[in-house]
């Protein structure tokens, strides 16, 4: 177990959270977006099983350097494939990873819109 990109981005452009420790899995994704709409940095924190940690790490690696639109196309199946398959009862973890990333992107977008609105209003 040697996950990459573990950690937090202090001044993240978007933060996505998903899951609940009560169910056994919880993930936080942090993204930094550059001027070309590319994810220049992706970091995560995960509470969960080995698969959840591996999935988080894989998602962060897959997303880094991609544009936002490309990153939104990272699917559960793609993640599981890249990891060489996951046992059946761990497949939901790959969903969680992709969803947490997408949530972070959502968060970035809504902040963008809020910012634009703010700009217009101001």
């Amino acid at each position: 177990m040697n996950p990459r990109n573990v950690g937090e981005i202090e001044d993240a452009d978007g933060i996505g959270e998903i899951g609940n420790p009560v169910c056994g899995d919880m993930m936080s994704f942090y993204i930094k977006v550059d001027d070309n709409d590319r994810l220049s940095d992706v970091k995560f924190k995960t509470f969960g099983c080995g698969a959840a940690i591996a999935v988080s790490s894989m998602v962060s690696e897959m997303a880094t350097g991609k544009t936002i639109d490309e990153a939104l196309e990272i699917t559960r199946d793609a993640v599981a494939d890249k990891l060489g398959g996951l046992p059946k009862n761990k497949l939901h973890c790959s969903n969680l990873g992709a969803d947490a990333l997408h949530n972070a992107i959502e968060d970035y977008r809504s902040k963008q819109q809020a910012g634009e609105k703010g700009d217009q209003d101001g």
Binding site: P3, V22, F47, G50
Partner: protein, 399 residues
């Protein structure tokens, strides 16, 4: 790499004397105990000798022992078999909330088939109170089942007191001794129970063998219908090598019980004393003192069990956890939750189960390798993060 196996609740190695005793029954002494010739005689005598050893571990009459394929079959036979045999008397069963799935799920199957089941709760230490059992009884209660001791949290139950309650009401009382047999002294008459389950594989015997002791006169509907084996109470060709191995394991466990328990308890106590000092936000689960000699169980806050298991395995340490991720059913431990451990904290459960092959140095090794693993996982954990930001530092285990 050092190998430290601390998961004896999941499996024990077969003690050499037992596997040596089994060998001929996997070879030339392959007869069927039901056969009326020399091959059959040899097999039959071996099974009956094993029956005596197992009976002796429980101070029971050999004729009251039914060999099964393991603890699960023994428990299913007891719960379903006693319930169905006494259905005319009543329809209600009382068990504790922290029974093993082989009791709990058997009872729930009976529920689907028309029985009523009351699951009695436990206190924070995992103790079932005899008064709680007493309150749950109804005029139509036909069976009570409460385990001798819980393997996940180690807590030993007041089975003798519960037996007194059961006896007073004339209700059959079964106890699951799978986690306890070979580690606590068990005398069926002293305990006052009517049926008791044990398994070979937690006793340094082979997997695939177990036994149900049933007091003379207690009616039981067989779970495995078939031939007249086991006095007509369990059909199927006997697992002769398995039963022979179990017999030897039971004999050795009985001869050695006090010494074994003492050795295991001293390692357990060492870990229970030291681990909380080495790892903050860690709590013992189960009863602080009245626990199985081999059991040291904890929760480690802010992280999840499977991650710890994987990282421990990488450094040669085998343990188990009651977290949702480590269970194939993806559910957190029903035992911890019955003890009131919050679900999020139960996810970080760790069970160290000591065995005859362990040495005190194994405790030292755990104390060396586990703290950095916990630290590493906590660094990854969004929960720990939040805790620190919310001014962590104080213990938050009790939410």
């Amino acid at each position: 790499m050092r190998e430290v196996y601390l998961d004896h609740y999941a499996a024990t190695p077969v003690v050499t004397e037992a596997s040596m005793a089994m060998a001929p029954y996997l070879d030339d002494k392959f007869g069927n105990p039901s056969s009326l010739h020399s091959w059959g005689d040899a097999a039959r005598e071996a099974v009956e000798e094993a029956r005596e050893h197992v009976a002796s571990l429980l101070s029971a009459d050999p004729a009251e022992i039914i060999f099964t394929s393991g603890g699960t079959e023994a428990n299913n036979t007891a719960i379903k078999g006693i319930a169905y045999a006494s259905r005319k008397k009543g329809n209600h069963i009382v068990i504790s909330e922290i029974e093993h799935f082989s009791v709990l799920h058997a009872a729930r199957t009976l529920e689907k088939l028309g029985f009523e089941v009351t699951e009695v709760g436990v206190d924070g230490d995992g103790v079932v109170s005899p008064a709680g059992i007493s309150e749950a009884l109804r005029p139509d209660t036909v069976l009570i089942s409460v385990m001798i001791a819980n393997g996940e949290i180690g807590t030993v139950q007041p089975v003798k007191e519960i037996a007194t309650v059961a006896r007073g009401e004339g209700i059959a009382f079964h106890t699951d001794a799978v986690a306890a047999a070979g580690y606590l002294p068990l005398d069926v008459n002293d305990l006052g129970v009517d049926a008791l389950s044990i398994a070979s594989d937690l006793l340094y015997g082979p997997k695939g063998a177990g036994a149900l002791w049933v007091r003379h006169g207690l009616r039981l509907m067989p779970l495995l219908d078939g031939g007249t084996q086991e006095g007509g109470r369990r059909g199927g060709t006997e697992n002769v090598p398995g039963v022979v191995g179990m017999g030897v394991a039971a004999r050795l466990a009985g001869e050695d019980l006090g010494k074994r328990a003492g050795r295991l308890a001293s390692m357990r106590d060492l870990l229970i004393e030291r681990l909380p000092r080495a790892i903050p936000h860690l709590r013992l689960t189960g009863h602080p003192t009245n626990r199985l000699p081999w059991n040291a169980s904890f929760t480690v806050e802010f992280i999840e069990g499977e991650g710890m298991l994987l990282l421990l395995d990488q450094v040669g340490v085998a343990v188990s956890s009651g977290s949702a991720c480590t269970s194939r059913a993806l559910k957190g431990s029903h035992v911890l939750s019955a003890c009131g451990v919050p679900a999020a904290i139960g996810q970080g459960s760790l069970l160290f189960s000591f065995g005859l092959d362990n040495l005190p140095e194994d405790v030292d090794y755990v104390l060396e390798v586990l703290p950095p693993i916990v630290e590493r996982l906590r660094k990854m954990s969004p929960l720990f993060d939040k805790f620190l930001k919310q001014g962590g530092g104080q213990d938050s285990t009790v939410q």
